[in-house]
């Protein structure tokens, strides 16, 4: 893709002599960085820190427990993307719920939940709507279709999270020193660049919207280092082949029709105002929380699990006392080790571990 050799880009980054730490807030970036060994190729003065970019990982324990409780309800089929299945709740996981008779179906597209509901008219299908702005419009379109086709036995447990409010909350904590952000390519394919202008305006920090190939990330790092060198704080688009500055107006329109912002509970960050989504009034019939008002008691995270600190970039996965010893991909303690795009899983698979 690049007409320039990666080592030439690396050498240009080195030559600028800038000391800086940049955060990525996208699980796919995390995996691509780990898999390519990019951290080791960069000069020591340029640090990469993973942030709250994995949707499953940032889901609060109480919400995971809610999903598991749903799977234990008689006559309920829980439909979910695959990476939620093994995430440990307080007592069990969806996988264990399925082993003890609960019904859990893995789907590839939210649209598959419509077929599942049609195929099981005597059962209730609940779709676990987990994901950032890339996923929310797809769910919104599915909700609209369910309403238009009058499908009575389908509802949605809406756990969507919004990335810009989480970044703002993380910066307000001032726990770590950051010099800019590698911005998530496909979140920005939907949102465009405007929702990230607060980085420039409120924090004088640059951001570069980036694709997922190691070459993309390397070029984005070059652009970030150059901005830092020139003391600029612009929101630039490296991933121009897929991202327009205005985003995807069709997807934004559907998302806006179906959802409204509401506070959300993030693992590691707590409750952040307007950082989640709720179904708007015309779609309340499809809200799983209204259809199944379950009381979840005693939710707690595994003691000493460092997922919260890892998601805030305060510690690296390797700095968690459980990493690679108590917590491994085969026997994960926290979601960051379970999800394929979790920081701990990526570090375990591609970096050093005990």
């Amino acid at each position: 893709m690049l007409s320039l050799e990666p080592r030439e880009v690396l050498s240009k980054i080195s030559k600028m002599g800038v000391s800086a730490s940049f955060m990525e807030v996208c699980g796919t970036h995390t995996v691509s960085i780990a898999r390519s060994g990019l951290k080791k190729l960069l000069p020591d003065s340029v640090k990469l820190i993973s942030g709250p970019g994995c949707p499953v990982c940032v889901t609060a324990q109480v919400d995971i427990d809610y999903a598991i409780a749903l799977a234990h309800q008689p006559g309920v089929i829980v439909a979910t993307f695959g990476d939620m299945v093994r995430v440990p709740g307080t007592e069990t996981s969806l996988l264990e719920a399925r082993a003890s008779g609960g019904k859990v179906e893995v789907v590839y597209s939210p649209m598959d939940s419509l077929n599942l509901a049609r195929a099981h008219p005597k059962e209730e299908v609940v779709f676990l709507a987990v994901g950032f702005e890339t996923t929310a419009p797809l769910i919104a379109r599915t909700v609209q279709t369910a309403k238009a086709e009058n499908i009575p036995n389908l509802s949605f447990l809406v756990l969507h999270k919004l990335i810009p409010p989480a970044m703002r909350a993380l910066l307000a904590l001032k726990e770590i020193q950051l010099d800019g952000f590698i911005l998530p390519g496909h979140v920005c394919a939907i949102l465009g660049s405007k929702p990230f202008l607060f980085l420039k305006e409120e924090f004088h920090l640059p951001g570069v919207i980036t694709g997922f190939e190691p070459d993309d990330i390397l070029l984005a790092l070059f652009m970030l280092v150059k901005q830092k060198k020139e003391d600029r704080a612009d929101i630039e688009i490296q991933y121009r082949r897929a991202v327009r500055p205005e985003g995807n107006p069709q997807a934004l329109k559907v998302m806006e029709e179906v959802f409204e912002p509401q506070e959300a509970n993030w693992r590691g960050l707590g409750i952040i105002p307007e950082s989640g989504l709720a179904l708007r009034h015309p779609y309340w019939d499809f809200d799983a929380r209204r259809r199944f008002p379950l009381k979840i008691m005693g939710s707690r995270e595994y003691p000493a699990c460092g997922c919260g600190e890892v998601l805030r970039g305060v510690i690296s996965p390797q700095e968690c006392p459980l990493f690679g010893r108590v917590c491994t991909p085969d026997s994960p303690v926290g979601p960051c080790m379970v999800s394929s795009e979790g920081s701990c899983a990526a570090a375990y698979h591609y970096e050093e571990h005990p």
Binding site: T28, S109, A242, N248, E341
Partner: protein, 72 residues
């Protein structure tokens, strides 16, 4: 997980398209890319096309860097 690999549209019918991924054919939704045409490459997320790829745009990035006297 975001798949950065573009897929090619082979056929379009209403809000659905047939795409080819590594020789395999798959149906995706085109609700959010009404401008998509047969032959276009799109980015797909969980069964929906979310963006039509623009080669021109990709080149533009490199041109931009050349202008900035970054790439010799």
């Amino acid at each position: 997980m975001c798949l950065g690999i573009p897929v090619k549209i082979v056929e379009i019918k209403d809000q659905e398209a047939l795409v080819e991924v590594g020789g395999l054919k798959q149906t995706i939704r085109t609700d959010f890319v009404p401008e998509a045409q047969v032959g276009d490459y799109v980015i797909v997320h969980a069964g929906f096309a979310i963006s039509v790829l623009e080669e021109e745009e990709a080149r533009e990035t490199l041109e931009l860097l050349k202008d900035a006297d970054v790439i010799p």
